[in-house]
């Protein structure tokens, strides 16, 4: 080992230490760091919404009234959202009567329906007869992207000539079963 190298090594080592200490020495505090994670899990959902009640509005005794599923204002409308292409079975619980004042009832029948992957009751979808027997279909799109399904409902009420005046109502239930799992 040469003298030069020995000397140089000692000097360089000491100088490096001095410079290193000098570089950090004036700082009153040393930086301290802590790390956490932000976490989330995106779940695959299915959303069913009764978007529009089935409205017959004013009805006259003895005069039948039909709301067609193409009636944009008064037809019943359900919206289903979920994973694109998701497979669903759709069925209905339908009343045969609407309930009115003092126990009086108003018959409702001739249910009509239309389902579509776009928000249209006139084209691109398929008509069906709503019932407790399910039909199966797929939401729009492909898996991993949002999919949708629109279902439109119409029906006919047949008030008697001597139908008790007042308000009549009932409930339609649409059941959507996810059949992909």
């Amino acid at each position: 080992m040469s003298r030069t190298s020995l000397v140089a090594r000692g000097v360089v080592t000491t100088a490096a230490m001095a410079i290193a200490f000098a570089a950090v020495g004036p700082s009153p505090l040393a930086a301290q760091t802590g790390t956490i994670n932000a976490t989330a899990t995106v779940l695959q959902p299915i959303t069913i919404t009764g978007s529009n009640d089935l409205q017959f509005g004013n009805v006259f005794p003895g005069v039948n009234k039909t709301v067609d599923y193409t009636d944009a204002t008064n037809a019943g409308k359900f919206t289903v959202g979920g994973d694109g292409g998701a497979q669903v079975a759709v069925s209905f619980t339908l009343p045969t009567d609407l309930n009115g004042p003092a126990g009086s009832t108003l018959p409702i029948s001739t249910w009509t329906g239309y389902y579509n992957t776009t928000n249209s009751a006139t084209s691109g979808g398929a008509s069906f007869t709503p019932s407790a027997t399910s039909f199966n279909t797929n939401l729009s799109g492909t898996t991993g992207s949002p999919g949708s399904l629109y279902v439109f409902l119409g029906a006919t009420v047949t008030p008697a000539v001597n139908q008790t005046q007042g308000a009549y109502s009932n409930t339609v239930t649409m059941t959507v079963a996810y059949t992909g799992s």
Binding site: L43, Q44, P45, I46, T47, I48, T49, G50, S51, N52, D53, L54, Q55, F56, G57, N58, V59, F60, K65, G76, K77, T79, G81, G82, D83, G85, A86, Q87, A89, P95, L98, G100, L106, I108, S134, F135, N136, N138, T142, T143, G144, A155, P159, Q165, G166, A167, Y168, S169, N170, T171, V172, T173, M174, T175, V176, A177, Y178, T179, G180, S181
Partner: protein, 279 residues
């Protein structure tokens, strides 16, 4: 005139149609094991009014009809021989109100019999959401009727309880294809093996010899016992001629947590179908 006045008075007392009512349910498949003894389902009300929700469990599984359409077979009183967990999985709470734009968590608690064998036990969670009742009022002197119906929604998702060693397998037979109206229906029969349902996907591609398929469709596939589904492939844009329908079954499902899927070796088959010239 009197009638018109009465009817207009009725109309003035009738509120506008209720805003959208419904509920978001997630996930669509809930997996429970003895380690957790429970699971949860999340509800979210996307509407502007509170929604009343009731939860129940039932036994059911997907089946196909003679046309290959998948529906849900429900059994109110399942036999003791079927792997039903409907009677020993409870939801807490069973009834709740989800305020507008808020979310709630429903806990599922499993209380299985201690003699439970290894395997998978099934039930369906039924989530029923009722919006506000349509408010129809009329004055006593009204000569008319006012009529409306509210829409309730019911969502059914799957619950799986897995205990011990679970496995699944699948056999595909009777692959076939035919032209029906404006689509090509590709069908196959599936029989499940093992002690757990098969959850995966059926991919169907139509090719006419070109390197890329003329068209392709993927659908989820859930086989609990046996299933014979048909997949309709739109044929309007297909040129007349001879096509090969390639069927592939695998466990590629992006909507379910991968770690919960029971893998199998992919199944393949192919059949020939001829798309006729338009008449």
């Amino acid at each position: 005139m009197k009638l018109l006045r009465a009817l207009s008075l009725v109309a003035s007392l009738i509120p506008a149609a209720l805003s959208a009512q419904g509920v978001l349910v997630a996930p669509t498949g809930i997996f429970i094991d003895p380690r957790t003894h429970g699971g949860s389902v999340e509800l979210y009300n996307p509407g502007s009014d509170p929604v009343e929700v009731s939860i129940s469990t039932a036994f059911g599984y997907p089946v196909t009809d003679s046309l290959g359409r998948v529906t849900l077979h429900m059994e109110n009183a399942p036999a003791s021989t079927v792997p039903s967990s409907a009677s020993w999985i409870d939801a807490f709470p069973r009834r709740l109100v989800v305020p507008a734009h808020e979310r709630r968590t429903v806990r599922l608690l499993a209380r299985p019999p201690i003699t439970l064998r290894d395997g998978e036990y099934w039930s369906r969670l039924v989530v029923e959401a009722k919006g506000g009742q349509i408010a129809l009022q009329s004055p006593s002197d009204s000569m008319g009727l006012h009529v409306g119906l509210t829409l309730d929604v019911r969502t059914i998702v799957a619950v799986f309880y897995r205990v011990g060693h679970v496995s699944t397998g699948l056999t595909m037979t009777d692959a076939r294809a035919h032209v029906a109206h404006d689509s090509v229906d590709v069908c196959a029969s599936f029989t499940r093996h093992g002690n757990a349902a098969f959850l995966g996907a059926l991919h169907v591609a139509l090719s006419s010899g070109a390197r890329t398929p003329a068209t392709a469709v993927s659908v989820p596939l859930a086989v609990y016992y046996a299933l014979a589904p048909c997949v309709a492939i739109p044929a309007r844009s297909l040129a007349p001629g001879r096509y090969v329908a390639h069927l592939l079954v695998d466990t590629d499902r992006s909507d379910l947590q991968r770690t919960l899927l029971l893998p199998i070796a992919p199944l393949r088959d192919s059949v020939i179908v001829t798309v006729p010239s338009p008449r």
